[in-house]
Symmetry: C2
Subunit: 391 residues, 2 copies
């Protein structure tokens, strides 16, 4: 048997497995209430509607074949119509590209846009799936902290004034994973203006925008500039198993991504594309379905935040959970969440320590909690256990 090739050995050493996935392995014991996951609730996925759509798709004639690399045309068309409403302009079909989950869009975009050493600005704490892709592309990564209005543009502007020239700025604009916050409308407009002025691309990563609880998400950053590449996904509103994500971008970007998609996996699944198109086209049903998901998640989010505030008082501050899937919490009393985790597991509750998402900032007193897959009573019990672990 030959020795491991040097490139393989190098690449094995250079990549880290997703911290969240490794943690999930530890927290799936039945007696543990896990707030550590990041999964939508399978019970809320529209099983019967999916059966009907699968039957309809399979009764057609062309749906089992290879499809174009940009995605099944009727799916691209319904996405075009929906994104036109969101962006307040007529989005062209040539600007819409379907990917194998929005993670694939991130990965192909990194390949298209970044050469080794290119500067990428991410948010701190960061979405680890993006961080992984940008690191693998050999990018130089600089992190800009979040506050309650999203990415701190004062810090970004300092970087720009110092002469830093990012190729890409990545933001999770709505209900940040893990930070829980939403970028404010004035910052959205300003970020877009900075992109135009300094000639960088913004990747607006928006899987959670439809999951607002009290008021609709603000207009996308992409409303304000064509230098914003907008990503979204059916995973959080329909089902991850469809593996349907999409990108809205300038046609030249779509063309470049198309060439890479052909090498990466040729094309998506005409079957899951047709199912997704069916559900996304059925507007009356979809509106009701998404409202039901919002309502369930909203109740859970409020229960979690209420429990944290009641049980911890001033010892913890946490985000309001106005949408999405996550609450971000900071211990104000010096509790170290890396150290808290093993004690929490002993008490039967799991979360993800802030350090898992930290780039440049110290988040050792922070944690991410996911509220999607437990009911209100279970979430209250989880916070009781956490409080006992933290005593």
């Amino acid at each position: 048997m030959s020795p491991i090739n040097p490139p393989l050995a190098t690449k094995l050493g250079g990549l880290k497995s997703s911290a969240i996935r490794d943690l999930l392995e530890l927290t799936t014991r039945e007696e543990v209430i896990s707030l550590a996951g990041g999964l939508p609730d399978a019970e809320l996925m529209p099983r019967e509607r999916l059966v009907a759509a699968a039957d309809a798709a399979l009764s057609g004639s062309a749906v089992l074949q290879y499809t174009g690399s940009r995605g099944w045309p009727p799916l691209r068309d319904v996405l075009r119509r929906r994104e036109s409403v969101k962006l307040g302009r007529a989005v062209g079909l040539e600007e819409v590209f379907v990917t194998h989950g929005s993670q694939q869009a991130l990965s192909l975009l990194a390949e298209v846009l970044l050469d080794p050493g290119a500067l990428v600005v991410v948010e701190d704490p960061a979405y680890v799936g993006a961080l992984q892709v940008f690191r693998a592309a050999g990018a130089r990564i600089v992190a800009v902290p979040l506050d309650s209005e999203g990415m701190r543009l004062d810090v970004l502007k300092e970087l720009l004034v110092r002469g830093e020239r990012p190729t890409v700025v990545h933001t999770v604009s709505n209900f940040h994973n893990p930070g829980g916050v939403t970028m404010s409308p004035p910052r959205r407009r300003e970020l877009a203006e900075l992109a135009d002025t300094y000639g960088f691309w913004v990747i607006e990563d928006d899987p959670y925008g439809e999951l607002w609880f009290d008021r609709p998400s603000p207009d996308p950053v992409a409303t304000y500039s064509r230098n914003v590449i907008r990503l979204s996904s059916a995973s959080k509103i329909l089902a991850p198993a469809l593996r349907v994500g999409w990108m809205v971008a300038q046609e030249r970007i779509c063309r470049a991504v198309e060439l890479l998609k052909q090498g990466a996996d040729l094309c998506g699944s005409a079957l899951t594309h047709q199912i997704a198109a069916d559900l996304l086209t059925d507007e009356t049903w979809l509106t009701g379905h998404v409202e039901a998901v919002r309502s369930a998640y909203g109740d859970r989010a409020k229960a979690l935040v209420h429990a944290v505030r009641t049980r911890f008082g001033d010892r913890v501050t946490c985000t309001d959970a106005a949408g999405g899937m996550f609450v971000w919490a900071d211990f104000t009393d010096g509790t170290d969440t890396d150290r808290l985790l093993p004690r929490a597991l002993e008490h039967g509750v799991a979360f993800v320590p802030g350090s898992a998402f930290a780039v440049d900032t110290d988040y050792s007193h922070s944690m991410r909690m996911c509220f999607t897959t437990s009911d209100a009573a279970t979430l209250a019990e989880a916070i009781d256990r956490l409080a006992r672990a933290a005593e």
Copy 2:
């Protein structure tokens, strides 16, 4: 608006769109009989069995969620059992990895195994999907010609004796695309021995092995060495829309591919994985189904070869079409197939000229013809038209 980033411009220029895909655009006019495609026949895909499997999958409880990066475990298990039979040894679950079509396996393997400048040996004529991936990885590509027994190992050995040290040797071992030939058993054993001696990886790309017409395909190259990474796919026997390919490889390779898969697209579709597992597990049904596909393709292949030999006589030699989807033909009278194509289109027939697959060898008198999607009478008519165009 900012100018195109230099990396984007560079990468747009450096990549070529798949020649086959561009050609397909030209040959879909209704009056043209296309032998240019490379698609399995949608009419032979098991629509009703797929509906039943989709219904069964959607009646479960976990199938709509994200799944592990290595694939849905029961699918990996049935693949493990099937590959154990093929390889004549107990294949471990940790050696089986499901990819988004086998193209994704090629793409992730190139990322794992190749650094820019690494030497990759391909067959000439080459499978263009592999060529595209290896070129994008910055590999140095050397092509070894095929003959009627597959890759010419005498040429490969000359390279090795000259001191060339490939990192990867890629082969389509059964019913080559585009070359039509199958590697003989003695060459399979010898290629595996060379891999062990010289410490290179063989990627045995085998999407067509089940589609034999007269006698079963020989034992895989992977039978003879653990340095052979074996790829296959459900696309040609079930349906491309499942996007289910798989890799059988050493566990360390699977681990490295897993890290990259997380960044590339997180995971496959639990829905299409469950459907594929259902169909692959149903052995009695599957045997009958694959026999029906073989029988239909075998009849078409023989009709095409018969028509070529009858119509062209000594002016054309072509492969026997013992399986797979393609016949490779060489004009012996100096006909240039690049020049023939526009005349053939005027006469209402399309094929792919050999130049589309050529790496180092001159295939300007050759062509690839796909027999899967036309009946025997249509194939005979296609060859009549081609003969008139070639007059």
